[in-house]
């Protein structure tokens, strides 16, 4: 899909969704890392 064909509102809306989903991904990785470090006894 040609990015230039998207209207600015559509681009903004899609960016919002992408940031939310990306944030979900990163926060789940952080939770996983915290869990692993807790099990290994690294504190936190």
């Amino acid at each position: 899909m040609d990015q230039q064909e998207q209207s600015p509102e559509l681009k903004k809306a899609n960016l919002r969704v992408a940031l939310i989903l990306g944030g979900l991904a990163i926060s789940s990785l952080c939770v996983a890392a915290w869990g692993v470090s807790k099990t290994l006894g690294f504190g936190a």
Binding site: M1, E5, L21, S28, G35, T39
Partner: protein
């Protein structure tokens, strides 16, 4: 086959006034009533697909919890009973809440369009079939929550719900039994609708041997569903009676036998895997010729193969029960039947490979999924033949080898088939092309993650790691850690999947009526004669097929 449309497929009205009136009629109703009271196969199909996507995250989340717990030996953060509850509900959600509704959603969208019908044969029954699903999902979620509020022990039996353990479970088990009742009713009604539609509402001239393979696949799937769901319903109802009404169907002390439940369950459970598989085979039967620009190598053998698979699949259920103490004669029979099933499956897979041979192939996302399905489902077939051999299965049974086998069968065989169908038909459903680059990234991300998750499980199973355990011996740590990392990679890829769908629904490059160049080859469906997206009411006048 060439398709001649004698009407425009939208309306046969002549005057401008009648066209104007038709436009009003062809608009969807406004407000929430459009969805709650829908009798439109496209809207109901959309609802099935959205429901399935939500359940994918629920069931997938449980899988993430399971794999997180199993990253290290010892207990991490899940109580043993809750872990077993996650294992149970993960499977039930994936089978009944993700794959079956998504396949039904695709059937709802595509079968009327492909056969030139204005809608399903029984539109109000269609509505009921869908709306039973959120009710069932609510009961399922309640069954997880109720143990936390004094409802007894959680359901910790695995999705097979074997007594006597399931007789001892708390209130959650009763809620789960009701969930299965409701899901069973939904599936049976949908299946009746699909069979009636395919048999009665094909466009004039559309003979059975001109049907797209997806329609044949769903005809067989629906017949299978009608035959097997009553067995499950009977079994779980007998369980309910044993739990509350003093019967002893499955209690040896009262003259019953727990093995009876196993037979009832697996008489449903084995054909159920073909219910999960056949729609994806149907999708493959459309995608492979399209992107190879070559008709199917053998259309009739594929139809026959699906039929033989259905027949054989009904009579091999006890290969899930080799260790219960059956006679050698019985285990031999089930072993031979199970090994024979590899013949029609092999027929289908070789058919797809020979379709691609010397074809003019391009590798868009649906085709990437299709090829990966053929390869990875063959791994499942190989391990399946290994498991079919009785003396070997005595070692493999209840180990992670079985878990690896069925995930290789179900994820490529069912889930990836659905993804392939989604990417293939998204342009038709939404009127926009999806982002091909993101689609390819999703394909590679999900395939690598899936293989990283489940390939090591073959080895941990062969090394002796049992199934359904919250804690394991230290010699299995490395395999489990690789598997857990793979599971997180696989799980996260679905966030990209959601993004691609949202982006495509909202807008993008306009999709033509025929977005895929090869879609007219062989036995094309009539959906490509309609604009993208199709109007709210399509084929109000049936087209004629020559």
């Amino acid at each position: 086959m060439s398709v001649t449309i004698t009407q425009d497929g939208l309306t046969d009205k002549a005057t401008p006034e009648e066209h104007h009136a038709e436009d009003h009629h062809n608009q969807p109703p406004k407000g929430i009533g459009r969805w709650i009271f829908s009798t439109n196969h496209k809207d109901i199909g959309t609802m099935y697909l959205i429901f399935s996507l939500i359940m994918l995250f629920l069931g997938g989340g449980m899988a993430m919890l399971i794999r997180a717990e199993l990253y290290f030996p010892g207990l991490q953060f899940l109580e043993p009973d809750l872990f077993n509850n996650m294992v149970t509900t993960h499977a039930l959600i994936m089978v009944f809440g993700v794959v079956m509704p998504a396949a039904a959603g695709m059937a709802n969208w595509m079968i009327p369009l492909q056969i030139g019908a204005p809608d399903m044969a029984l539109p109000r029954l269609n509505n009921l079939s869908f709306w039973l699903l959120p009710a069932a999902a609510t009961l399922l979620i309640l069954s997880i929550i109720v143990p936390f509020f004094g409802g007894g022990a959680p359901v910790n039996t695995g999705w097979t719900l074997y007594p006597p353990l399931s007789v001892q479970a708390g209130m959650g088990m009763d809620l789960l039994i009701f969930t299965l009742h409701v899901l069973g009713i939904s599936s049976i009604l949908a299946a009746i609708n699909i069979v009636t539609t395919i048999l009665n509402m094909r466009a004039p001239g559309l003979d059975f041997m001109k049907l797209p393979l997806f329609v044949w696949a769903w005809l067989f799937t629906a017949i299978l569903l009608i035959m097997i769901m009553p067995a499950l319903a009977g079994g779980v109802t007998m369980l309910l009676f044993d739990r509350h009404f003093g019967t002893s169907f499955f209690d040896a002390a009262g003259g019953g036998d727990p093995v009876l439940f196993q037979h009832l369950f697996w008489f449903f459970g084995h054909p159920e895997v073909y219910v999960l598989l056949l729609p994806s085979i149907g999708v493959l039967g459309i995608i492979v010729p399209t992107f190879s620009r070559k008709p199917l190598f053998g259309y009739k053998p594929l139809v026959w193969g699906m039929g033989i698979l259905l027949a054989l699949g009904m009579v091999v259920w006890a290969h899930h029960q080799y260790t219960i103490g059956m006679s050698v004669a019985a285990t031999n029979y089930f072993m031979i039947g199970t090994i024979l099933i590899s013949i029609p499956v092999g027929l289908m897979l070789f058919n797809f490979i020979f379709t691609m041979w010397r074809g003019a192939m391009t590798f868009e996302t649906p085709m990437l999924f299709a090829i990966s399905i053929i390869v990875m489902f063959s791994f499942a077939g190989t391990t399946g033949v290994m498991l079919a051999v009785v003396p070997a299965d005595l070692q493999y049974h209840d180990t992670y080898f079985v878990v690896a086998h069925f995930h290789y069968a179900l994820i490529p065989g069912a889930l990836f088939g659905l993804y392939a169908g989604v990417f293939y038909w998204l342009p038709k459903w939404t009127g926009h092309m999806y982002n091909e680059t993101l689609g390819k990234i999703f394909f590679w991300w999900t395939t690598i993650g899936f293989n990283l998750t489940f390939f090591p499980q073959h080895f941990s199973g062969l090394a002796g790691m049992p199934r359904r355990i919250v804690d394991y011996s230290v010699q299995f740590v490395e395999f489990n850690q690789i598997s857990s990392i793979g599971a997180f990679i696989f799980g996260l890829s679905h966030l990209l999947f959601v993004y691609i769908i949202i982006q495509t629904v909202r807008g993008g490059e306009k999709a033509p009526a025929q977005p895929w160049e090869g879609s007219q080859i062989g036995t094309p469906g009539l959906e490509w004669t309609l604009p993208s997206p199709p109007p709210f009411h399509s084929f109000e006048t049936p087209p004629t097929v020559k």
